[in-house]
């Protein structure tokens, strides 16, 4: 195996809130290999967006605070070196966000933005004079060349009437179009690594499909690596090589796309997978309960209060380490402590679950995502935006 292009080690992020310190990311490790697409999957508020923001260097600090962890991009540590992070972000990363409206400047035309991207490609140390000249509308790069390149890109993203689009403001475009433009913009910078934070969530289902197709087409074509954040396993299946399942700021399970979907090991993953048939939206019926309170996270395994297979006296005491199984699969559940086979573990889990269900507790409660957010509401507006 070659060196990973991106590696995140033991990330811990805390948020200062009125209730105290929220331990939002609690020891997350993540690697993305060259040319690989990795998806982080988890429900709202599980910390996947915070992870992505940390990688992108846009974690709001305060209230957020990176307590621990290292981020390597091509073996260069970034969390301790803001300049390097900035440089990598500028030179190598491309970003695609959930809300295409806020991801494009609302006050400039698509063409203006694209031209600026092209003008300053690989330029560092731009002086004030240049800034001023730009603001009054002067550029050194040939307008015609830029125009052609824009058209080409927009064309590639199957945008009708690319000529016309250039003179439009984002507000004049539909959501799908905006997202295409956004992808085009990200591609313009010729990145090696894309970070996509729920880029299709805000779109209609049919449009989602198209965008996903377009995105994977671009990734394949340019041989990019990508970190893809989603709460939707179905989406992850379509685009990712590997999947990280995240729960309450911790990695619950890691595995290849097929492994996770075919044979989820972690009880949480299983719950997620059970809800997959409804591709369109995340169905919470699969797992009962809510994301826990981050300021006073449950002891032991953070999932144990919701876990159908929780073993009293174990799961609520011991924090499960990640057990490495075969083929790069990892799972953080005490069930796998003794190298238990997945099948056996499943059985135990099923029994536990039955017993618990008998006591009949949590069915039919109308707990929407809003309420779950209640406890971490003050983390950041951003998190909410990303998860709505």
């Amino acid at each position: 195996m070659t060196d990973p292009i991106l590696e995140l080690r033991d990330l811990e992020v805390h948020f200062n809130t009125f209730d105290g310190r929220a331990e939002v990311i609690n020891g997350v490790d993540l690697t993305v290999e060259e040319g690989e697409t990795v998806a982080i999957v988890g429900e709202s508020g599980c910390g996947k967006s915070v992870t992505a923001e940390t990688v992108m260097g846009m974690l709001p600090q305060p209230p957020g605070e990176i307590v621990n962890g290292e981020l390597y991009y091509r073996d260069e540590e970034l969390l301790g070196d803001e300049t390097a992070h900035e440089r990598v972000k500028t030179e190598s990363l491309g970003m695609i966000f959930q809300d295409p409206m806020t991801s494009l400047s609302p006050v400039f035309t698509v063409g203006e933005m694209m031209r600026d991207v092209m003008t300053y490609q690989n330029k560092t140390n731009v002086g004030w004079l240049e800034i001023f000249r730009n603001i009054v509308g002067r550029r050194d790069v040939s307008e015609a060349d830029m125009h052609d390149r824009c058209i080409e890109l927009l064309d590639r993203l199957q945008i009708p009437d690319p000529e016309g689009i250039l003179d439009r403001y984002p507000i004049e475009l539909s959501g799908g179009m905006r997202q295409r433009v956004l992808i085009a913009m990200a591609m313009l910078g010729e990145p090696e690594f894309l970070i996509a934070d729920e880029p299709t969530t805000a779109l209609d289902v049919t449009v989602q499909d198209q965008i996903l197709d377009l995105l994977s087409e671009q990734v394949k074509r340019e041989d990019l690596s990508m970190l893809y954040i989603t709460h939707n396993l179905g989406v992850a299946r379509r685009i990712a090589d590997r999947i990280y399942v995240m729960y309450a700021g911790e990695i619950a399970e890691v595995g290849s796309c097929e492994d996770i979907l075919d044979e989820p090991l972690h009880p949480y993953s299983r719950g997620l997978v059970d809800s997959v048939p409804k591709l369109t939206e995340f169905d919470r019926e699969g797992i009962e309960g809510l994301i826990p309170n981050y300021t006073e996270p449950p002891s032991g395994c953070r999932f144990h209060p919701r876990c159908p297979a929780a073993v009293a006296g174990e799961c609520d005491v011991t924090r499960p380490p990640r057990f490495e199984l075969a083929d790069g699969r990892e799972v953080a559940c005490l069930l796998y402590e003794d190298g238990l086979s997945p099948a056996a573990a499943n059985e135990i889990a099923a029994t536990e679950a039955d017993t618990n269900r008998g006591s009949g507790t949590t069915h039919g409660r109308s707990s929407g995502p809003r309420e779950s957010d209640e406890s971490i509401e003050s983390l950041t507006q951003r998190m909410e935006d990303a998860n709505e």
Partner: protein, 301 residues
């Protein structure tokens, strides 16, 4: 297992306590708003206990026992008269202390009146909508098309100049701001689902207004109230300064500054100290209001 349910339920029940805690927390995070609160607390204290704090309450006309001593005019600030004396030999500090009463009273009256008129108007306009709503809001547009000081001047002219009439004039031009604020909130809240829902189950309009809409506009009104207290005091002082507010010998701050101007620059203290008092009071309300704005997370204006 069941603990989770309980947790959620108690969470919901404690929502109110929760949000109070949250507010208190955020408020504590903002030292400037604490300073503001401190200033205002001080002002209120001074206003209430003015007769006991001021060394020469009769110089401020307290208990109708005026005392002038023209022979002691324009004493410079000293231990006996920390803010000096004015042209009638009165202790300026005592007068500034009593002035607190007038400015706070003015602010309170103006805002009580403005909210009393503005909120119902905004509610009606926003909730009823249609022609009535449009007409009401156009009316507020008209009021808002002139700066409050100028309109208050125009309203104050037909009335005799006095503190009471200044209050009325300012209040008359102030309510549209609240009507506008409430109207905006109502329109956005009106469309929100929970109102739709309560309408669906046959909630009366009044009930919707009082149970759903009013609580929603409380936060912005609270913030605006605090910010406006300062602003109303400023406008009141401005009217006093122009001679259309409180009349001498009322120890109203703006009026005192105007009187003192005739004796600048030699008797610099005459205008300076009442102005300082206005500045402090307005600063206090602004700091508090700004803190509240952060805490309650609302944008006004």
């Amino acid at each position: 297992m069941s603990s989770l349910t309980n947790w959620v339920q108690s969470e919901a029940m404690e929502n109110r306590k929760e949000s109070a805690r949250r507010i208190a927390y955020r408020f504590r995070q903002n030292p400037l708003s604490l300073v503001g609160l401190g200033i205002i607390g001080g002002l209120v204290f001074v206003a209430i206990f003015a007769p006991y704090i001021a060394r020469h309450p009769q110089d401020a006309g307290y208990m109708g026992e005026p005392a002038v001593d023209f022979a002691n005019r324009f004493a410079e600030p000293s231990l006996a008269h920390p803010f000096g004396t004015d042209q009638a030999g009165r202790d300026i500090l005592s007068r500034v202390i009593f002035g607190t009463r007038y400015s706070l009273a003015l602010g309170l009256f103006v805002l009580t009146f403005a909210i009393g008129i503005g909120v119902p108007v905004g509610l009606v306009a926003g909730y009823v909508g249609g022609f009535v709503g449009q007409a009401l809001m156009r009316l507020t547009d008209v009021f808002l098309s002139v700066p409050p000081l100028v309109l208050a001047l125009a309203v104050a002219v037909p009335l005799q100049p006095s503190l009471r009439n200044a209050m009325i004039a300012i209040a008359v031009v102030w309510w549209p701001w609240y009507a506008r604020l409430v109207y905006g909130e109502v329109v956005s809240v009106r469309e929100e689902q929970f109102v739709e829902a309560s309408r669906g189950i046959g909630a009366s309009r009044l009930r919707i207004i009082f149970r759903e809409i009013l609580p929603n506009v409380m936060a912005p009104i609270t913030v605006k109230f605090s910010l406006d207290m300062g602003y109303a005091i400023l406008i009141g002082a401005g009217l006093g300064f122009l001679g259309l507010g409180a009349q001498p010998p009322t120890p109203e701050w703006g009026t005192m500054i105007a009187e003192g101007r005739a004796y600048l620059p030699a008797q610099w203290w005459y205008s300076t100290f009442p102005g300082l008092a206005i500045f402090l009071a307005v600063l206090g309300f602004n700091l508090l209001g700004d803190g509240l704005r952060d805490v309650l997370d609302v944008e006004v204006d």
